[in-house]
């Protein structure tokens, strides 16, 4: 075997190994999701079967029918929960983005006293686990009377999302050369116009990805929402999952069906925004 063949074999071997490892990694990531989707379509007997049934014998929409059905037959107010989730996630994302765009821009462009300390403090707030805050938050919110309201949860999610979003958006604005804004100012823009007409559009892709992060964080959050919501008027979908548990049983099929419903809007949103995540938008304006 000559040296070239050896190297070719080696390359095939590495490629094969690479694909195998990727398969394992993707399986670990995807299997739970796949299992949920599968379970939402099959009878409870099969879900609970031991050893597990990998290939379903029959698929049905039974769990979905029950979930949307009347309360007595295992139905829950899905529409209501969905609207709560949507209103809370969207509003908190929009507010968090407005704050984070302003903050991120300030960190990227301006020099001010205590800048790095403030920045590190923001990051430190991420180090505190959300659940640890639930009791103090509960007490404060109870005193303020904003438990079980949209407003309360929106407030919590804005606070959760702002520091991380600022950090992300700061990075994106740093990639926008400051000469672009200067050129715009010379071209007749005010500082404000230069931002909205040049810097913001150039950093838009990055801001969109920060927005997805913020939205998904709010959409999926369970720990705090389960403490701060009480009734159908404010419960979000993750909290709604708990409606499928009762004292002695857990309705796994129904839970999976609701989980699938939760995943769908998140997927749709990610795909919509992904179109706008055109990387390399900042390239070309300057040398390179």
């Amino acid at each position: 075997m000559n040296i070239n063949q050896q190297h070719r074999l080696k390359r095939y071997f590495f490629k094969g190994g690479h694909l195998f490892l990727l398969f394992i990694a993707m399986s670990i990531i995807c299997l739970p999701g796949l299992w949920i989707v599968l379970n939402s379509f099959r009878p409870t007997v099969e879900i609970m079967a031991k050893p597990p049934v990998w290939i379903p014998n029959s698929l049905s929409l039974e769990h979905y029918r029950a979930m949307f059905g009347s309360v007595g037959q295992g139905g829950i107010p899905v529409g209501r929960y969905f609207m709560n989730s949507l209103v809370i996630s969207l509003t908190s994302t929009i507010i968090a983005m407005l704050v984070a765009i302003a903050g991120g821009y300030a960190f990227a462009r301006y020099r001010f006293r205590g800048k790095s300390v403030i920045f590190v403090t923001f990051m430190l707030t991420r180090a505190v686990p959300g659940v640890a805050l639930s009791l103090p938050l509960f007490i404060v919110f109870a005193k303020l009377g904003i438990i079980d309201t949209h407003f309360g949860l929106i407030l919590v999610y804005v606070a959760m999302n702002v520091p991380f979003s600022i950090w992300l958006i700061d990075g994106f604005f740093r990639q926008v050369p400051k000469e672009l804004a200067e050129a715009a100012e010379i071209d007749g823009c005010t500082r404000w116009q230069a931002f909205w007409k040049v810097e913001f559009p150039v950093a838009k892709a990055g801001i969109a990805s920060a927005a997805i992060f913020a939205f998904l964080t709010s959409w999926n959050e369970y720990a705090l929402a389960s403490q701060l919501t009480r009734s159908v008027f404010s419960k979000t979908m993750p909290v709604g999952l708990l409606d499928f548990t009762s004292e002695f049983t857990i309705n796994w099929g129904g839970m999976c069906a609701l989980a699938v419903l939760m995943i769908i809007p998140a997927l749709i949103l990610t795909f919509i925004v992904q179109k706008h995540l055109i990387s390399g938008l900042t390239f070309g304006g300057i040398k390179g």
Binding site: P177, E182, I186, D187, G188, K197
Partner: protein
């Protein structure tokens, strides 16, 4: 169309002063090049004229107005940036028309102005492309086009050619010069490249450490540099500068190895005995006999041991030692020169420069 005047212009960052009260008058339609090594304050000065950098003290006048506090948009200047600063999310057409759109011009006016600028700069075919789809030279032209469209009083160029390769740079240099002849506007141009400065400028302003060292036409600063800094900065290859002393009899220059050269007659009355000086001459005033200098000049003969030669075709640059210091000489109508060869050279004394060693100023 306007003149620019800088009066005692000072710029300080924190405690560091980077521009130390410079005065400069730029006339209407003049092409002025600010040149100097990096960190000399030339870009800062330009940015202060543009209004991108607030001034610490002093005055900036454009036309008859003092514009110290005016934002960039109210100064009617255009600027071409070193990295072009094209708007990456807009096509070439939108880039060119952006300033007019901001000024709420009608679509017809915008269209006409954009086409006009595109025709001047040969950009017509590129109008629908985005900056990322253009080559370096094309981006540079779009940046210039964006500046032209506004029909500004003053054009500001901040090292616009430094990101281009040598060939393109030479080409764009010519285009900028043509552009100036065509649109006849005041231009302030910043560069660290003395060749650009020499070829483009009506007037060169040489800066160092936040001060203006000398200003004048390219030939003035080339032929009568006021100090050793200007002498070594302007001209390529740089001026040869050798430490020397004036002889007791005040009629000769003694180099450090004892070589005695006749004192150039121009300096007869300007030196004193045993004065420490720097003796300067350019490569094209030291040539092997029969390879360049015309007869009848006031010359001195020097033996040059050649360490290295750079043949450039019409001329060869010779690197050799005089008084233990590396100097450069030129050879026209060149013949091959080998390493270690000793050539008898003629030095054109009438083109030599004497500087005071302590102050580094030209003797006058």
């Amino acid at each position: 169309m306007a003149s620019v005047s800088l009066r005692n212009l000072v710029k300080t960052y924190g405690k560091t002063q980077v521009v130390h009260g410079i005065n400069l008058d730029i006339e209407h339609n003049e092409f002025v090049v600010l040149v100097g090594p990096s960190g000399c304050g030339k870009s800062t000065t330009l940015r202060m004229i543009a209004g991108l950098e607030p001034i610490t003290s002093g005055d900036i006048g454009i036309g008859d107005n003092v514009v110290n506090e005016l934002p960039p948009r109210d100064r009617n200047v255009s600027m071409v940036f070193q990295n072009y600063a094209l708007y990456p999310h807009m096509t070439v057409r939108e880039n060119l028309g952006f300033s007019l759109k901001i000024a709420h011009q009608t679509d017809e006016i915008i269209k006409a102005s954009v086409i006009n600028a595109a025709e001047i700069l040969g950009l017509v075919e590129l109008l629908e492309r985005r900056p990322s789809e253009l080559s370096g030279g094309q981006r540079q032209r779009v940046a210039m086009g964006r500046a032209i469209v506004r029909d500004p009083d003053i054009f500001l160029f901040d090292e616009p050619l430094s990101n281009l390769d040598a060939k393109l740079r030479a080409q764009m240099r010519i285009e900028i010069k043509k552009l100036h002849q065509r649109i006849k506007t005041t231009i302030v141009y910043v560069t660290h490249d003395q060749v650009e400065a020499m070829t483009l400028a009506d007037r060169i302003v040489i800066m160092r450490d936040g001060l203006i060292e000398q200003q004048g036409t390219p030939l003035e600063v080339f032929e009568t540099p006021v100090n050793t800094f200007v002498a070594s900065f302007i001209g390529s290859p740089p001026m040869n500068l050798l430490p020397a002393t004036i002889s007791d009899s005040q009629d000769a220059v003694i180099l450090t190895d004892g070589t005695s050269l006749l004192l150039p007659s121009l300096y007869k009355s300007k030196v004193s005995a045993r004065q420490s000086i720097v003796f300067g001459f350019r490569a094209d005033n030291l040539m092997p006999i029969g390879h360049g200098l015309s007869p009848g000049l006031e010359t001195a003969q020097i033996e040059l041991l050649v360490n290295l030669s750079e043949p450039l075709g019409t001329e060869t640059i010779l690197f050799g030692d005089i008084a233990g210091q590396e100097i450069q000489a030129k050879m026209f109508n060149p013949r091959p020169v080998s390493f270690g060869e000793t050539l008898t050279c003629e030095l054109n004394l009438s083109r030599c420069h004497l500087f005071d060693r302590e102050s580094q100023e030209r003797l006058r």
